[in-house]
């Protein structure tokens, strides 16, 4: 009996050893690929994970000349300070206001555009419209800032036209008026990304089976009915996924644009969380405080992502995770 048990153990040990040596041989066989993969992992650890670790300065009193580990812990005090900051309400209002309006208008418009562009019969015309419509995506926000300041200046085309039509009596400096800022931000964003965002929907529409349209035609459906009852339901999954992605990215989408268009005069409408982080962190050097505010934004973004994921899952069974 003992002998048998011993030999069984020996056998197990030898198969384990064999397995391990096979594993090492496999690892050795893919050593080149492993080097390639680990170079990527190394990059991600340095440029993605080290900054994630750096977030802990939000709970510390970080001093720029000392390492992070040397900084004393301060708990939630930076967060409390932000909630009591006099600009807190204004910053939150601007961040959420601009983001949600952008989502409400900027998300459905490319779908509508794609639906109607799909109904264009001439292939050449369709392709030309498409090519033109995504041209602005390739312009930078700096260039767009230049175009907008030119258009909206006192002697710009907008004032010229409105004066000529007697809509206004005196030229308006649009970028100096907080009241116009959200409108400018949202309109210019739509102008820039409408065609680009539509590409993905057009691609999804092109894979809808033509038989469905034929069947709908036989049933007597008109063009609008076909769009509503055939095309739209067919691209529902694509819409859901893109909606989740749009919601999770919405708080991040403003910064490049707002940094170009903001100025001291429109500050009450242009001061969003990212702007606040940039000013307190980069310009005033309050690193810990700015990191705490940035972390607060990331948490809101994550909550929005989870909500959007839950909602689309419930509505039509599509979700990211």
């Amino acid at each position: 009996m003992r002998h048998e048990a011993q030999s069984a153990a020996a056998l197990a040990a030898s198969t384990r050893a064999a397995k391990r040596s096979r594993w090492f041989r496999k690892l050795y066989g893919q050593r080149h690929v492993q080097v390639m993969a680990l170079l990527g992992i190394l990059w991600m650890i340095i440029f993605n994970y080290v900054p994630m670790y750096g977030i802990i300065i939000a709970f510390k009193e970080f001093n720029i000349v000392k390492p992070i580990s040397a900084a004393p812990w301060v708990g939630w005090s930076h967060f409390q300070e932000f909630f009591q900051d006099e600009s807190f309400v204004n910053v939150m209002r601007n961040t959420l206001g601009i983001s949600l309006i952008k989502l409400a208008i900027g998300f459905p418009l490319p779908i509508i555009f794609a639906l109607f562009l799909n109904e264009v019969r001439s292939v050449l015309f369709k392709r030309s419209v498409q090519t033109i419509s995504y041209l602005p995506h390739f312009l930078s926000w700096v260039i767009l800032g230049g175009i907008l300041t030119t258009w909206l200046s006192d002697v710009g085309i907008v004032n010229h036209v409105l004066l000529a039509l007697n809509v206004i009596k005196e030229p308006i400096s649009y970028l100096a008026e907080p009241d116009y800022f959200w409108g400018i931000i949202i309109t210019s964003d739509i102008w820039k990304e409408l065609g680009w965002s539509a590409i993905i929907y057009l691609a999804a529409i092109s894979s809808v089976s033509p038989e469905m349209y034929e069947a709908a035609t036989i049933d007597g459906a008109g063009r609008f009915q076909k769009m509503w009852y055939v095309t739209l339901p067919s691209i529902k999954a694509t819409i859901s996924i893109l909606f989740i992605l749009a919601v999770s990215g919405v708080l991040n989408s403003n910064f490049d644009q707002i940094l170009v268009l903001r100025n001291a005069l429109n500050e009450s409408a242009s001061n969003v969380i990212d702007m606040f982080v940039y000013q307190t962190g980069m310009q005033q050097g309050r690193y810990s405080y700015a990191t705490a505010v940035g972390l607060f934004k990331s948490v809101i973004a994550l909550i929005l992502l989870l909500i959007a994921n839950r909602v689309t899952k419930k509505i039509n069974n599509t979700s990211l995770f």
């Binding site: 594993w23 496999k26 893919q30 690929v33 390639m36 993969a37 170079l39 990527g40 990059w43 991600m44 340095i46 440029f47 993605n48 994970y49 080290v50 900054p51 977030i55 300065i57 562009l117 109904e119 264009v120 019969r121 030309s128 090519t131 033109i132 419509s133 041209l135 602005p136 390739f138 312009l139 926000w141 700096v142 260039i143 800032g145 230049g146 175009i147 300041t149 030119t150 085309i157 010229h160 102008w191 409408l194 065609g195 993905i200 008109g222 694509t238 893109l242 992605l245 940094l259 170009v260 268009l261 903001r262 100025n263 940039y278 962190g281 980069m282 690193y287 940035g294 972390l295 994550l302």
Partner: protein
């Protein structure tokens, strides 16, 4: 289909209004760009009066001459060209290399690698911790700050990986039998057959590199190393247009204004991208599909 049946009145009306709407979208898209173009080609002083909508009132290329003679603008342009060319080459090569490794079946640790990458899609350190990292790596005021932190992107890796997985296994097997190792397969087999996806990522990253002004704003105090977009940002957002005129050597005609130089710089900066993208568009539609659906 179309010729079988005559269009009904409703159909015809729909097509008419739809086509008209599409023309409106095209006009709204192109006109702002056209407006900048004609104003840039108008004489500076005269342009200040405004009212130039369709065609230059006093045609002049002086603003462009001034732009090309300005050492500051040309240095910034050179930095942009350098960082775009170098950035695209290295980003495409490095990201494709990691994607090739990740896409291999039976890669030990493969699942963990993908998990490590997926986390980066949703979480990040944010502005300040990233700035502190760049500072600690001594990349502030260093040209490499445009290249190294942009070397890799997990999103682009997914696009590459999706494409690589569709390459028939036989191709790699054949190379292996011929005695190639994994580097050889990657360089001589995988990269050459992946031109469509390489073109896609090259365009995406090229546009990013060409248009990015933010890295120049926060990481660069050395004005000789700032890209053209950062230069323009300082002019546009901080309304320091006078700097631009000050940067122009005196020999040019006095009719050039800060505004006309700004417009000319905008045109010169945008032209390369507008010229390149029609050639690459057949690739990026497919690339975007892969990226968005699997992303």
């Amino acid at each position: 289909m179309l010729s079988l049946k005559r269009k009904t009145k409703g159909e015809a009306a729909f097509d008419f209004f739809n086509g008209f709407g599409m023309l409106l979208v095209c006009f709204a898209t192109l006109y702002p760009i056209w407006y900048v173009l004609v104003n840039a080609f108008n004489e500076g002083q005269d342009g200040m009066r405004g009212g130039i909508y369709w065609w230059p009132r006093m045609f002049s290329v002086e603003s462009f001459e001034a732009v090309f003679q300005s050492a500051g603008i040309m240095t910034a342009m050179g930095i942009t060209v350098a960082k775009t060319v170098l950035g695209v080459l290295l980003h495409v090569f490095f990201t494709a290399m990691v994607a090739y490794a990740f896409s291999r079946r039976g890669l030990i640790g493969g699942k963990i690698y993908i998990l490590i990458g997926t986390v980066t899609l949703f979480f990040g350190g944010g502005l300040i911790p990233t700035y502190l990292l760049i500072r600690d790596l001594h990349l502030l005021d260093n040209f490499l700050v445009y290249i190294i932190p942009a070397l890799f992107s997990f999103f682009d890796l997914i696009i590459f990986m999706t494409f690589f997985r569709e390459i028939p296994d036989g191709l790699e097997e054949a190379a292996k039998i011929d005695g190639a190792n994994d580097w050889g397969i990657f360089l001589k087999v995988v990269l050459p057959v992946s031109l469509p996806v390489i073109a896609t990522i090259a365009l995406f990253h090229g546009v990013y590199q060409w248009n990015d002004y933010f890295a120049g704003v926060i990481y660069m105090n050395n004005m000789d190393l700032q890209p053209i977009q950062t230069y323009l940002y300082r002019v546009v957002a901080q309304s320091s247009s006078n700097q631009m005129v000050a940067a122009i050597p005196g020999g040019v005609g006095k009719t050039v204004t800060s505004q006309s130089i700004k417009l000319a710089t905008m045109v010169v900066t945008t032209l390369p991208i507008v010229l390149v993208y029609p050639f690459l568009q057949k690739y990026f539609v497919k690339g975007m599909m892969i990226g968005s659906i699997k992303g």
